[in-house]
């Protein structure tokens, strides 16, 4: 099993982010960056598949700034064999540019599987995995919550509204992983020490901005104080009216 896992360095969902003075990027000072949580499922799945097969290689590919080496090393600490950083200071907002750079890196790898998280928690784009699949001419299944592999083929389950979709696909394939696929392991201390010694070359890349430009980042509107409409059954009609007309949630 030769598996590539594409990962992204993202701000920890629990850090309080601030918008930079330019109004369209994040102020990174004091922000803790982590391995994108959906990518953790991808790394874990790759490691399990390799362990089950008893042989193979798990390679981490990341596009990002120099600091993303630390993110790659956290995947190496979990047990991946080596990493590659496609180094750029600015990740374009257009996922297609990212996909092209990744596809160029992956194209001659001879992979059995290429895994992604289903989305990055910073931009919520859900795009890069499927685009890479398209560029490489491979089958793609997104948001995989359960996976079975057999020689040359695989079956994946996707959680869709109100049910489960079962998809069969040929290998090699590109999969994006959903929560529930597995329980990612903690990087053990020996793994953290070993990660330092694993190969992690960096390749500078210069990406065009692509077709998308971020004009502004705005914080969500301040939540207004709640309001008590009344008490008991008498208040229900008014509550329903407000939910329908004011809050527009019904």
């Amino acid at each position: 099993m030769k598996i590539a896992v594409c990962i992204k360095r993202v701000p920890d969902s629990e850090t309080r982010v601030k918008i930079a003075p330019d109004g369209k990027s994040l102020d990174e000072a004091g922000v803790k960056f982590v391995l994108n949580p959906y990518d953790e499922f991808a790394v874990e799945e790759a490691l399990r598949r390799k362990e089950q097969a008893g042989a193979g290689e798990v390679v981490i590919v990341c596009l990002g700034p120099a600091a993303a080496q630390e993110t790659i090393r956290s995947a190496l600490a979990m047990g991946a064999d080596r990493g590659v950083l496609l180094q750029t200071d600015r990740i374009p907002a257009d996922g297609f540019e990212v996909a092209k750079a990744l596809a160029a890196e992956l194209k001659d790898g001879g992979w059995d599987l290429i895994l992604f998280g289903k989305m990055a928690i910073d931009d919520y784009n859900h795009q890069v995995g499927p685009m890479v699949a398209e560029l490489l001419g491979l089958a793609c299944v997104t948001a995989v919550a359960h996976l079975e592999l057999a020689p040359g083929t695989g079956t994946a389950e996707r959680e869709i509204e109100g049910g489960i979709e079962v998809v069969e696909f040929p290998l090699p394939a590109v999969l994006t992983t959903e929560k529930g696929l597995n329980e990612p392991r903690y990087p053990a201390l020996k793994g953290i020490m070993a990660a330092k010694k694993k190969p992690l070359p960096t390749k500078p890349v210069a990406l065009p901005p692509g077709g998308i430009e971020v004009l502004a980042l705005l914080p969500p509107a301040e939540r207004k104080d709640g309001r008590i409409v009344g008490e008991g059954p008498d208040a229900v009609a008014e509550l329903v009216r407000l939910l329908r007309e004011d809050a527009k949630v019904l």
């Binding site: 956290s74 201390l189 020490m193």
Partner: protein
């Protein structure tokens, strides 16, 4: 799911840590959030050590993590080791105590004073959690003054015969092996103190759980009785000799405690800040009142000082330059301020502060044990006093 702990770092101490040190800290922090925090309150109330967590801790590599890889350990530096202790005690002092005893008080002496054969026999199985150990120094009548111990080991023709009793022994009933310190010569011969590896299933060895603890309840504390315990010749730790041997183990453990106490304090401070911002009284969050702000400011100040103290202590230890007196200063200060922080946090929380659902009172009660064990606060005062003046005030 409970929110993840974000740490307390007012002086960018993180910036002074290496990438690996942070990675180790983050792994243990996440593990504590996911596995220890959700269950600790209940275990504490029931007075049970969460033994089911031992295999996971072993899997992460937490036991004897600063000992070499060739014996199955993680081979970390002392700062990373300290951060592990900090994060474990952020969860609970009892669980940190377990790891301290296993690593600093049992694996360390085997590594420092054991034969190569003993190291190969015990260390890998202790790192993997298969063997749990305890450390018996304190006796019913000899606490702060272990030099006066009356447990004896008599040389026989095929080995050793041990008699005596040990008290307050962490992991005592859980352990399958004990490091027991005993006099091999006359009772006034302190130089004759040696360490012995005693498997718990040896005839004449028994451990009894000490009941009625109001502190460190999620930890096993036991009394050990050694009645005509026969051991083979190679049960002795060949390189141990005199009281300085067990004391050097204590220096290792105290070093970890200095870090651990900071973890407990961080947990209490974090809880207090959250509570101060959300608890509304007299029409505003209690954090908006000067009295509570003073509490929080004091806590943050002491935590920050303690963090810097630990880090420099760890760097000195990694350079091989640390002195036991420097470790004493850190243990003494950090446990003291942590106890103070826990107490103030408990008070800030009002009535909720006495519940097991919150952390402050559990930490406060735990820290009273930590204040006493591994050299009481007073004893560290005397150690420092002697260091400063050259005069012995112990007796």
């Amino acid at each position: 799911m409970a929110p993840k702990f974000q740490g307390v770092d007012f002086y960018d101490v993180d910036g002074l840590l290496s990438e690996e040190e942070r990675a180790v800290r983050d792994t243990v922090r996440a593990w504590v959030d996911d596995n220890l925090i959700p269950i600790i309150g209940e275990h504490y109330v029931e007075g049970k050590f969460p033994k089911h967590l031992v295999p996971q801790m072993a899997e992460l590599g937490l036991f004897g993590a600063n000992l070499p890889e060739e014996y199955g350990c993680a081979g970390l530096n002392n700062v990373a080791y300290g951060l592990i202790m900090q994060e474990l005690e952020r969860g609970d002092s009892g669980v940190r105590s377990f790891a301290s005893v296993q690593g600093a008080l049992v694996m360390y002496p085997i590594h420092a004073f054991g034969s190569e054969e003993q190291k190969r026999r015990w260390l890998p199985r202790m790192a993997s959690g298969e063997v749990i150990g305890c450390f018996g120094l304190t006796e019913p009548d000899y606490g702060s003054n272990p030099a006066a111990m009356i447990t004896v080991a008599k040389g026989t023709k095929d080995g050793w015969l041990l008699n005596g009793a040990k008290m307050w022994i962490t992991n005592g009933s859980t352990a399958s092996v004990a490091i027991v310190w005993a006099k091999t010569g006359k009772l006034d011969d302190v130089e004759s103190i040696r360490g012995f590896i005693v498997p718990a299933d040896t005839k004449g060895f028994s451990a009894k759980d000490q009941k009625g603890k109001l502190s460190l309840r999620a930890s096993d504390t036991s009394e050990l009785v050694l009645q005509d315990v026969c051991l083979p010749k190679d049960a002795i730790l060949p390189k141990s000799g005199g009281l300085k041997s067990p004391l050097s183990c204590l220096t290792q453990a105290r070093y970890g405690i200095a870090w651990g106490a900071v973890g407990a304090a961080m947990a209490c401070y974090d809880e207090a800040v959250g509570y101060a911002k959300s608890r509304v009284m007299f029409g505003k969050p209690i954090g908006g009142f000067q009295l509570q702000q003073a509490r929080l400011a004091e806590m943050l100040t002491e935590i920050t000082k303690a963090q810097l103290l630990c880090l420099q202590l760890g760097r000195l230890k990694d350079q091989g330059k640390v002195t036991p007196q420097q470790v004493s200063l850190a243990k003494r200060n950090n446990v003291d301020i942590a106890t103070e922080v826990a107490r103030e946090a408990r008070r800030l929380l009002g009535a909720n502060g006495i519940l097991a659902e919150y952390q402050a009172m559990r930490h406060l009660a735990n820290l009273e044990s930590v204040y006493t064990y591994e050299g009481t606060h007073d004893i560290h005062t005397l150690i420092l006093g002697q260091e400063i003046t050259g005069l012995n005030a112990f007796n």
